[in-house]
Amino acid sequence: MSQAVRIEKGVARGESVRITVDGEGVQTYRGETIAAAMLAAGCRVMRYTPRGHLPRGLFCAMGVCFECVVTVDGSGRTRSCTTPVADGMVVWTGRHGH
């Protein structure tokens, strides 16, 4: 599992926010996207494909490819790369069949 790195120098992030990803608490900051929060928490798999059940993650990071879609607060097909986090957000990747 590889963790993305938050660059601390030169920028101060927004206030601290908590979301859950597949039931686990994830520390994030206001202004971050769901994808950024997940990557920084070491969660690179954003979904599993419906047919082959193969892992997929962030690819274009600009809302074009739809590879990083997750289920957010019960609503499916949300692009994690363009959607900002909100306090208490509940995110599922489909890892456990959700």
Binding site: A4, I7, K9, G10, R44, G57, M62
Partner: protein
């Protein structure tokens, strides 16, 4: 459904769109700018979220500063920004269908300027769907707009200026870059010395980036391309190979690196879906391997009142995009009677001179970094070609074997191109497969028919609108 109106609607708030909006608004045109992102700037001038506070702008690089400067020009102008808004369709001339979060509305205008930008050229190869493989533009977006490094150990694989810039930015931000696999050898630049001198400011930037990587001792391996990525659940290894002049791997030259992140960047493809949806004529350009809108000297498409500027109309970078936007914005102001023809001619002389100078540089870049045929031959039979619908190379080959000769036929027979991305990821590679297997041309494989919605829209949003209209 709610209808909003503006004299000029600009789609896309990158450098091209913003400059068109600024010039038109300065002349007194009523302008609305629509963009999918929540902040203006587009991909190149991606700004940090409002919640982030910049302590040291110098660390964020020249693009950040240029972006701030361009956004500064908006001060004092009345331009309506419809951000976080997605254009998903158009059913009448110069009327766009838009959704903003859960609210749908129609946007009517006299003139539309499309400045929709570009996305990285998708290249199917074994392992390209593994988490940890990102487009180079994606890695840059994460860095610029979120200040996040996508991983720890990077392999960069691609070609051209964008890869150079992003590698340099990642290295400066502290990423470990194990190697850069550049498909084009340095000697190729020597054949185009004069245009490189003509575009000296850009050439100088390129040299500075390259020098930066030399100082950071980042291994630069050219000419080589990425041939496969491997790993269980995510990236663990990536393999590159030396290539010949046609970008075909030379046997026995493979090198494997242990990495957790691979950035792939073999050029950009203009996002022309909305132009097609609006009925603008396109032509296939062999050199840049992309469909581009036909435009006149004012960047108006063949469809009256619809303009196309910036990378969404032909990959040329931010400097060209800015000047094209300026010319189109002024042309719109003249068209709507806010400036005279004489004023228009005077105002465009400087931008046109700049475009002429940048044009020579651009043509040299296109020639130097022209994609070789080997890039389209990397997929193996079980490689996924259509990411959305999980269609493999062998499925597509079977369809072509059975007689499919167009993208539309392959889509109907295999579902490739039917998913959420609307074929943005698979249409380019499949067109090449058809051309190769049938002995035809990429142009002959055609394009996916332009369908609504251009981006997924929730049915509940459309239902809510129709009920509101009826109620």
């Amino acid at each position: 459904m709610v209808t909003e109106r503006a004299e000029l609607v600009v789609v896309g708030a990158g450098p091209a769109g913003l400059m068109a909006a600024i010039e038109a608004a300065r002349a007194g045109v009523d302008v609305a700018v629509v963009d999918e992102n929540r902040r203006p700037g587009g991909q190149i001038f991606r700004q940090l979220p409002d919640d982030f506070v910049v302590m040291d702008g110098a660390r964020l690089g020249t693009e950040f500063r240029n972006g701030r400067q361009l956004l500064g020009e908006l001060a004092g102008l009345t331009i309506r920004f419809l951000l976080g808004s997605v254009v998903w369709g158009s059913f009448e001339d110069r009327v766009l269908e838009v959704v903003n979060d859960d609210r749908g509305f129609r946007l009517e205008s006299e003139v539309i300027v499309f400045a929709t930008g570009a996305h990285d050229r998708p290249v199917p190869l074994p392992g390209w769907t593994l988490p940890g493989v990102l487009s180079v533009g994606g890695a840059q977006t994460l860095l610029k707009s979120q200040r996040i490094l996508a991983g720890r150990r990077f392999l960069m694989a691609g070609t051209g200026p964008l890869q150079l810039v992003v590698t340099s930015q990642l290295a400066n931000a502290g990423a470990e870059i194990v190697a850069v696999a550049e498909a084009v050898p340095m000697q190729a630049l020597l054949r185009h010395v004069w245009p490189l001198i003509q575009g000296w400011r850009l050439t100088r930037d390129g040299i500075a980036y390259r020098w930066n990587l030399l100082r950071a001792r980042v291994p630069w391996i050219a000419p080589s391309i990425l041939v496969r990525v491997e790993g269980n659940e995510e990236v663990e290894r990536a393999t590159i190979a030396t290539v010949d002049a046609n970008w075909r791997p030379i046997p026995g030259t493979e090198r494997t690196f242990k990495v957790d992140t691979v950035c792939v960047g073999y050029g950009l493809v203009p996002s022309v879906e909305l132009l097609r949806l609006c009925g603008c004529a396109l032509r296939y350009d062999e050199t840049v391997e992309a469909w581009l809108p036909e435009r006149d000297e004012w960047f108006e498409t063949r469809k009256q009142g619809i303009y196309a500027v910036g990378d969404g109309a032909g990959i040329a970078g931010a400097a060209v995009a800015t000047e094209e936007g300026r010319v189109a914005g002024l042309a719109v102001a003249a068209r709507l009677g806010r400036i005279s023809d004489a004023e228009l001619r005077a105002a465009v002389s400087v931008p046109r001179r700049r475009l002429h100078r940048l044009g020579a540089f651009r043509a040299a870049m296109d020639a130097i970094y022209r994609v070789g045929p080997g890039l389209h031959e990397l997929a193996l039979p079980d490689t996924v070609v259509c990411r959305c619908e999980e269609v493999q190379l062998l499925d597509v080959q079977a369809a072509i074997e059975d007689g499919a000769v167009t993208l539309g036929q392959v889509k109907a027979w295999t579902r490739a191109g039917m998913g959420s991305c609307q074929g943005r990821m698979c249409s380019v590679p499949i067109a090449h497969l058809i051309a190769r297997q049938t002995g035809g041309t990429v142009e002959g494989a055609g394009v996916h028919s332009a369908l609504v919605p251009a981006r997924p829209v929730a049915i509940r949003t459309l239902l809510a609108d129709s009920q509101a209209t009826r109620g």
